[in-house]
């Protein structure tokens, strides 16, 4: 787990360390990012510090965004990707709690983008047999914004809302604005007419090339769903995905097109692999031959 990282593509980015919910003020916390052990702390005055465990004078930049403490081991861009919804005042941002998963961040992102597994891994919650079809959707890689968008995604959900017994197709939008962060947008119940969406986010902290700390959460408008039940739901979903992810080989995401067999439902995953390859990423992936 302490393999040294020398990949500038991933070093020169912001990475999440912890949700502020899980930081005890005044206490020194310890974690690992890209193979390096770090301390982080929030003082009573609200100042944030992140520094290397081996070298007290190696102090890292900090950023506060979307309810999380972010840092970088290199020279990150000025701004983190924008998620307008999270800052809206009438929303609840429910961080799920960080989980460890023994797989590379790339595999976890692909799992987040994938719908085909809903009836099999999240049976009765996000999908159900025989409604297994992944209908054709659109994928766009924006050069200017440097992100991937998958739109017109829809999948049959058994209990589409808490109010109904029947299942229905739910519309999703997926967005990957960062090598190890992804977002899912779905219609906010009660706000469909206004076109407002709830956001589910996954901000991954690569501890090692095959070890990830997964920070997930939901940013919703509707207060009817209590904080606890949202968190419960997210944890169940993540727990179900974790055991699949940990059984994938190789653990690093293979970027070569001949490593695995894609189907049309994997369009977003293929776009993600190509996007990473184009960036020249070498950490946590198996680059193309």
């Amino acid at each position: 787990m302490t393999q040294h990282c020398d990949d500038p593509v991933i070093l020169n980015q912001w990475h999440p360390l912890s949700s502020f919910n899980e930081i005890v003020v005044g206490q020194k916390h310890r974690t690992v990012l890209l193979g390096r052990s770090l301390f982080y702390q929030q003082t009573a005055q609200g100042e944030l510090f992140v520094w290397s465990c081996d070298n007290v004078s190696f102090v890292l930049p900090t950023k506060r965004a979307y309810g999380f403490l972010w840092t970088s081991l290199g020279i990150p861009p000025d701004e983190l990707f924008a998620v307008g919804e999270i800052d809206e005042p009438d929303r609840q941002n429910v961080a799920t709690g960080v989980f460890g998963v023994n797989v590379s961040f790339g595999r976890a992102i692909e799992n987040f983008l994938d719908m085909g597994h809903f009836p099999f891994v999240h049976t009765g919650i996000l999908g159900e047999e025989p409604h297994t079809e992944v209908k054709e959707y659109d994928v766009d890689v924006s050069e200017s914004r440097d992100e991937i968008m998958a739109t017109r995604c829809r999948f049959y959900q058994p209990q589409a809302s808490l109010a109904s017994e029947a299942g229905a197709d739910v519309d999703y939008i997926f967005r990957v604005p960062h090598t190890n962060c992804a977002l899912l947008y779905k219609s906010s119940p009660g706000y469909e007419a206004e076109g407002r969406m709830d956001v589910i986010y996954m901000f991954l902290q690569p501890m090692g090339p095959e070890w990830t700390r997964a920070h997930t959460g939901m940013c919703v408008i509707d207060v009817a769903n209590s904080y606890e039940s949202i968190r419960y739901f997210q944890q169940i979903i993540f727990g179900q995905d974790k055991s699949i992810l940990e059984n994938q080989f190789p653990k690093r995401l293979p970027l070569d097109s001949r490593a695995e067999t894609p189907i049309r439902a994997d369009k977003s995953a293929i776009a993600y692999r190509r996007w990473l390859a184009k960036k020249g990423l070498t950490y946590g992936v198996i680059p193309s031959i």
């Binding site: 899980e22 709690g97 989980f99 606890e228 944890q235 727990g239 974790k242 055991s243």
Partner: protein, 209 residues
Amino acid sequence: MKLYDYELSGNCYKVRLFLSILGLNFDTKPIDFYPGREHKSKALLSLNPLGQLPIFEDSDATFCGSDVILSYIAENYDKSGFWYPKKQRLSIDNWMRVADEITATASAARLHDTFFYDLDIETARAGAHRLFRILDEHLWFSEKRGDDWLVETPFPTIADISCFPYVALSEEGGISRMDFPAIRRWCDRVKRIDGFITMPGIFPTSKAA
């Protein structure tokens, strides 16, 4: 009946699983075990001073500890008498001690790897490994005698319910079950018990032939 429950807890799952197999209805009070540490809150400490889950309430009595709860439910609600038969109680209780050891090792490893608990992972894994070897040997020879379960009975007992979850979740703590083929076959048999339900991290198996 009311269960103070955490969805990702193997110990709570033991109770949920047994209640489902017996076809019993019960109320659930979800507890924010992680990251909220609600089980250490004043309210819950007043119910269980040990600060652990599951906690079970029935007819004005409160029970703590999954093995105690399983025994209670079996004695009071199992009409068949198969799940905690009097003749095998000592043996079953022994296996529930083993289940505690499995919790102390395999579950601890899982807490470390998944929930970032600070504990000695190598000792936990080595301990689980040692226990699994014992369990695998026991199950292998039981199979040779024609027995499918931990205790020498034709039906599963709460011994099997008690040992199953943290064995089945062991890989989340980095403990592979590849060296324990008898354990893997026993897990399939447990998953085929009528009324079996899953929890995140435990998948169903195919239907028997």
